[in-house]
Amino acid sequence: MYIANRNCPSNESVELENRRARFHNRPMEMVGPSPAAVRPDARAVFLAFLTVGLSGFGGVLPFARRELVESRCWLSGEEFNETLSLCQSLPGPNIVNLSVVVGSRFAGAGGALGALAGLIGAPVIIVILLGALYGRFAAVGRLPGAMAGLGAAASGLVAATAIKMAAPLIARRPASAGLFMALAFAGVGLLVLPLPWVLFALAPLSVAVAWKLGA
């Protein structure tokens, strides 16, 4: 059970109820305070995701949660988890999907565009500047050594992500989850097959097995 943030309006408030209604596409009780406080508009959504995009390093999901749930009180913890689980079952970067879904539910297509622009605008500019600097100074002084260390650590972080995601799946159904993990790893990592082949061969089988086992 999510414990409400002290700074957020209580569960019973009309203001929060209206915001929820907006988020879940239900009719609102039109008795709340100023409508602007009730519905975040495209600009508010843009600013919220601008903060999110600039906060995180190597993944910004925890910062999205802090901004949307704790500082701005737009979503409850449960709503955030449900929205995130939708976004994780769709293709594409999860946080980008999250921005589009949250933005569109609050403020339609404009909200979706605003959220997306806020999330990726500044990081894209920064990373392009870093890339250009790297291209120019890659071979200068001890920079190659620093980049080598950075690359080694970054690959370790990806390995850690895989290990942490694998643990609960292996615990729940060791044989089938382990088999499909190993096949996907071997196909793409060892045999270097094109991803579409591997995905179209394995995903339907894996989903069928999950269906059969009652997920």
């Binding site: 890339g131 690359g151 972080l157 942490k164």
Partner: protein
């Protein structure tokens, strides 16, 4: 060298396809981005790819910024913008469209089976990403030790991963990796 327009078109098509195949997020398609940029199109070397991935991880923001850096290396600023847009647009349109249907199907058994079936495949792909990146990055046993230590810290502690990146870069600046 192919004309710039060809490269931009290739970037747009490849990243748009990857956008719709990226179940489990950007890390699951790193092997395919690697295969396309190093082996198929030869935009960069294995070590360049590892360095660009590290740069994307060390920069603020979402972790799919590797698309911008691959585009930049392949075709300059236009390449960076096109690769990023192509990687976002298809999956965003899908998310925008499905957001409305979601409430109705949240608890349906097919959706739960879909998520449960895709999960192990995704994890295998992310493990393959780690394998390919480590193979490119770990040229010496010291670098391999950095990879192993970082993975251990990230699995067993709650330390912010940025500290691992900073420490590894610091060791490199101090000359630990030649």
């Amino acid at each position: 060298m192919k004309p710039l327009g060809d490269t931009l078109g290739t970037l747009a098509v490849q990243f748009a396809i990857l956008s719709l195949l990226a179940f489990g997020g950007a890390n699951a398609v790193i092997p395919e981005i690697h295969r396309q940029s190093v082996e198929v199109h030869r935009w960069m070397s294995d070590q360049d790819f590892a360095a660009l991935f590290a740069l994307a991880q060390a920069a603020p923001g979402p972790n799919f910024m590797i698309s911008a850096l691959v585009g930049l290396k392949a075709a300059g600023l236009a390449g960076a913008l096109i690769a990023t847009a192509a990687f976002c647009a298809p999956s965003c349109l899908l998310a925008f469209w499905l957001a409305k249907l979601w409430d109705r199907h949240r608890d349906s058994p097919w959706r739960i089976a879909l998520a449960a079936g895709l999960a192990p495949v995704t994890v295998g792909l992310i493990a393959a990403s780690a394998w390919l990146l480590a193979r490119a990055a770990d040229l010496t046993w010291r670098l391999a030790a950095v990879t192993a230590a970082t993975a251990a810290v990230a699995v067993f502690t709650r330390l912010n991963p940025l500290w691992c990146l900073a420490a590894a870069a610091g060791l490199g600046l101090a000359g630990a990796f030649g």
